[in-house]
Amino acid sequence: MNSSSGKTYMSTSNSSAGWKAGDAAADQFPVGLRVLVVDDDPTCLMILEKMLRTCLYEVTKCNRAETALSMLRENKSGFDVVISDVHMPDMDGFKLLEHIGLEMDLPVIMMSADDGKHVVMKGVTHGACDYLIKPVRIEALKNIWQHVVRKRKNEWKDFEQSGSVEEGDRQLKQSEEADYSSSANEGNWKSSKRRKDDEDETDDRDDTSSLKKPRVVWSVELHQQFVAAVNQLGIDKAVPKKILELMNVPGLTRENVASHLQKYRLYLRRLSGVSQHPSNLNNSFMSPQEATFGPLSSLNGLDLQTLAATGQLPAQSLVTLQAAGLGRPTGKSGIPMPLVDQRNIFSFENPKLRFGDGQQHVNNNKQMNLLHGIPTTMEPKQLAGLHHGAQSMGNMNMQVASHGSQSSQNNPLLMQMAQPQVRGQMLNDTSLGHPPRLLSPMGQPILSNGIAANVSTRNGIQENIRAPSYNPVSQTSSMLNFPMNHAAELPGNSFPLGSTPGISSLTPKVAFQEDVNSDIKGSVGFLPSYDIFNDLNQHKPQNWELQNVGMTLDASQHSNSLQGNLNHAQSVLVQQGFPSGQVNGQNRSATVVSKAMFSSGDSTGHVNVQNGNQHLNSLLVDSTVRIKSETPTILYPDDFGQEDLMSALLKQQDAIAPAEHEFDFDGYSLDNIPV
């Protein structure tokens, strides 16, 4: 059928190598382009196959995402491009996209009969290189080869410039390690570290700004590997280089690990800090929440126990969390950290929009918390103040718990929550940019665990998802509504209150995954807003690859109405190039929000919020996850209250210091989100 099947250029060389070498066969390019098309609809699949063959491509068709993934894994260089449907029964198309981006880094084209803006946006944020609306015309397929060329071109450039990146990494590493060790100088260290990290990050980015770095998607699995490595090394001795070695993940750079580690430490820190205020958890938020937390880190285990003991964490959640923490995907939320960040980013965006709105504030807070990874134990009262309006949203109180494990779960949870419940409520939030993201220092865990998110949303129970200050990007509008509604109840703890029983079933992972994963997927790999903020400070846009931006977007999907707004907002957020103007706005709201949010039971109250923001900022800076932002809307308020946030954050940090560990991290301070 395919006349090009016999072409040699495909079989003998890697895609890029083949072309680079000027293979004679390349002259016939794109003839013989190896396409893998995935669609559960047999009619569409057959039509596409025929169309692609007519274009003289070499086609392999597949009706299941899992099969496609294993095919790709078995033969990583066997395909040039993947075309996948969005809605598939066994795995969400965006999740597949995420996997492919992470593992094989092939260009992926999404297609769907759904041409809603938010879905398309989700594709963008998740890193799809194109989005085709069904029914697909053959003309649309004739040019898909451009994506292959483009990607190759970018990879080549990256490869050539890898040297400069390394230097940047070294600098960053040094600064990181030095900083991590001096917890005593928290305050000073934080700010200076943040700045330095920002600079380092920016420097790194600058070097490679012209290059397109491969996206790093912190999927659940990857994060678990990370956590396992960290635990193996011992949290004290866990330095990026060693973690990277232990993880042994091809394509992962020390830089990626470094930023992820930073977030993770913040998350842990928050967890330990939060656990000091167990009483706060009680609220409705607290209930099922646990599920939201992602993988448990060693610390998480501790916290979880504590939380569980206090009755705040449902036993199930604990198990789930632990499972997650132990690297066992509980639900495959697979929400990469980046997602969180992205979400946070979005959330920030919203805050800006809604700043005046109490409800919005709440959302923002949530976002903020998430973003900063600042322990955002939202004080109930504060939260209440923040969002009276949010109450309507109510079901979704997603408290971003900074608990490590929770965080990870939170994010997904948050996202989830937002979705189902949000439906009507979220609408309002869309503009708000609810950052359902649970900021989890780990960033990912939370997201992945989205389970919590799911759960809560499903049940319509308010869940407070605590997300370590992960990117507050509230991609999914639905998620955003964190505990805002239940502000009153927000306990200082960062337990994802997922009041919804669903949450407890952390494992809803299945559900979550379906719902959230698809949503969250995008978030993977996103640098939480921290980077964005940091960037703002630095005035240097970071190159994030928003793969996961979709997270938020995904969540939005569920929330129907919300989605539209959110997605856009989110995508904007995630997208780099944050125009300082926008950022400012964001910060402002973020600040406000965070204030409200963070005012967890801690005495710091407002300070917390601010801290949160600060954390967020620092997280942003630190997160090295590269997010490629397409849009120039930067939401991070560069000038906005960075100092305020910082001080607030620091104070907050101090407040929870007793439980703090020796880790110093900037980013995650979201653990204060009262659940």
Binding site: D41, A113, P135
Partner: protein, 146 residues
């Protein structure tokens, strides 16, 4: 000549299918994909569509009959069905699917049930028309080669 007459009849019927809104652009794409390597491509696709979509129709029926109605699932099934029908250019069927999805998102059970009846009706009408049309096409092709 018989062949010419047959071909003329085929052309007329084809035009009326398009004019009356039963078929749309994607169907033309299918026709263009048909070539010597796949001389019965259109027929194959139509057959595949009807056999595969029968499953979806059943799923939707089942979902509509269950109480309480799971609108999310309904929407999901209909989304799939709509994607399928639009890929072969079944215009009227696809339009009815859109109406259904609107009722579905509004969680209007009554509306869903009503519009689904419309979907099934259009689906059946198109099936008959395509059977006739494709048979004519086959005959004309056979006569040509004869």
């Amino acid at each position: 000549m018989d062949r010419n007459r047959l071909q003329h009849q085929v052309a007329c019927m084809r035009r009326s299918l398009f004019d009356q809104g039963y078929l749309d652009e994607p169907f033309i794409q299918l026709e263009e994909l048909q070539d010597d390597a796949n001389p019965n491509f259109v027929q194959e696709i139509v057959t595949l569509f009807y056999s595969d979509s029968a499953r979806l129709i059943q799923n939707i029926e089942h979902a509509l009959n269950s109480r309480p109605i799971d609108f999310d699932k309904l929407d999901d099934y209909m989304h799939q069905f709509k994607g399928s029908s639009s890929s072969i250019g079944a215009k009227k069927v696809t339009n009815e699917c859109t109406v259904f999805r609107e009722y579905c998102s509004a969680e209007n059970a009554e509306g869903c049930i009503r519009s689904f009846q419309q979907v099934k009706q259009e689906y059946a009408i198109l099936r008959r028309k395509l059977e006739v049309y494709l048979q004519m096409v086959r005959q004309a092709a056979v006569s040509r080669t004869a």
